[in-house]
Symmetry: C2
Subunit: 275 residues, 2 copies
């Protein structure tokens, strides 16, 4: 890269850091990249750090020493996160979203890259302090959420299949009981998709009794992996606590009431905001 | 937002633009956001534009006039794109990726957010000049690629299901013949997932004869929608041209030979680079 003026260098460094979340970049690497003294680079980083932190973009962690450098950690502060989720709740309450069985149509919302990026950032903030190796979800609708979260955390995604596709190689399958309708279902994961001992963040779009998440946990057990966290976009609060299979999870929104006759629903911010 | 110094403003504007691709932002909006004169904002944008274009990050389109402003268009120049895809080819040629039936295991690669972001940017560049309303894929492995592409284009994603889930509402289903193994399969799309007359970019991870893509095109016909482009990550060149159901598509890599005995494969850059 040719030598840049400070103003241009700030622009380039900002985009460089933003596109490499959770990646340690040494001062030396920056100094080489921009053909500049480490002292100048440090000054630039101080400016970027202040803006990122003041404007709620994220943290710029500085690690001192020979192995030191900086690392960009995307964050979403509680207040803008709450605002986004309140918008999601209003949107989810539209009567035309009510589907047979007390489900909500939200596929269109999960198809908006802008909203997904925000939600991924909220999940990444919620689980920032857990040590995580991989983000896992089950096909289909949880996939974009899992990727959005994994992008912020710079982690790989593993997708559990509801079938056992030829293109995956040998796989481990388990049966699980979907908590709300008691049907027995199958999910499987390719043997090579997940290393043993991995610490896994489970992300899903919707949780009723938690049978699907419980199934993923059982599957993780087969891989000697550990659940480092569970995040669901919307939980159904219509399920009694005694029916809930799962205790420890983060939800961003909660469906508290569905009236199938009037198609009126109530959606409120989830336990991430209230607990 | 409190008033920032120019250096801090450049950092904030850079992240603001990067997180809003294909979105027109008026000079007035920037001037208000940063409590600065439009002339200062224009100078800042000129700096950002130069860096974005020099460093191959993307274009900053300037629209003059009362409705004017700037729009960030993510781009990946041909040279770094080729480098990334050559890395993909080398990685795909590893013998342990060969699966029964001449398939390649590439789920792990499609699970890496960094690579996906790059590939999405390459697709977004390849289809930059088509007028597109929505990006479509079929579950499961095309989903992350579709989202990565849609993020760069700031477009919604529509996922065609291989079943007909209760949580989608009324749906249109079609049968299609998978081109390579001649099996009849079903795919479906929720009625409300796609507006009539939409211009659709189809993205998928792997294409042999093109039966799945052809199925999606037939489905689009049911919605009176138009195919604005077809992008596949890897195509199998093992299929004879007479068997190929599809002519007009962009591939990023091409599997030209698979020797099941020795597990040797050859993967080369696709038609995006050669045609």
């Amino acid at each position: 890269m040719k030598k840049l003026k400070r103003s241009a260098r700030l622009v380039e460094m900002t985009q460089y850091l933003l596109s490499r979340p959770h990646t340690l970049i040494s001062l030396t690497a920056f100094a080489d990249r921009y053909q500049s003294a480490k002292s100048s680079i440090s000054e630039d980083l101080a400016i970027i750090k202040e803006v990122f932190e003041e404007e709620g973009i994220g943290q710029l962690q500085t690690l001192a020493g020979a192995a030191g450098g900086v690392r960009y950690i995307p964050r979403m502060p509680q207040e803008p996160a709450m605002e986004i989720i309140q918008g999601v709740c209003r949107e989810l309450e539209l009567p035309e979203r009510v589907l047979p069985g007390g489900y909500l149509y939200m596929t269109d919302m999960l198809g908006q890259p802008g909203l997904l990026a925000d939600v991924g950032r909220i999940f990444a903030t919620a689980f920032a302090d857990r040590r995580i190796d991989v983000v896992m979800t089950v096909e289909t609708k949880g996939i974009p959420l899992a990727y959005a979260t994994a992008s912020c955390l710079n982690l790989p995604v593993v997708i559990v299949r509801r079938d056992n596709k030829v293109t995956e190689g040998s796989a481990v399958s388990i049966n699980y009981v979907s908590g709300s309708n008691k049907r027995i279902q199958t999910m499987s994961l390719a043997r090579r998709a997940l290393k043993e001992q991995s610490r896994v963040l489970i992300i899903d779009d919707f949780m009723k009794a938690g049978g699907t998440v419980q199934g993923m946990m059982d599957l993780l057990h087969e891989f000697n992996a550990t659940v480092a966290g569970v995040g669901v976009f919307v939980e159904s609060g219509e399920v009694g606590t005694e029916e809930r299979l799962l205790e420890d999870y983060v939800s961003l929104a909660k469906l508290t009431a569905v009236d199938m006759k009037t198609k009126q629903t109530t959606v409120v911010p989830g336990n991430y905001f209230t607990s």
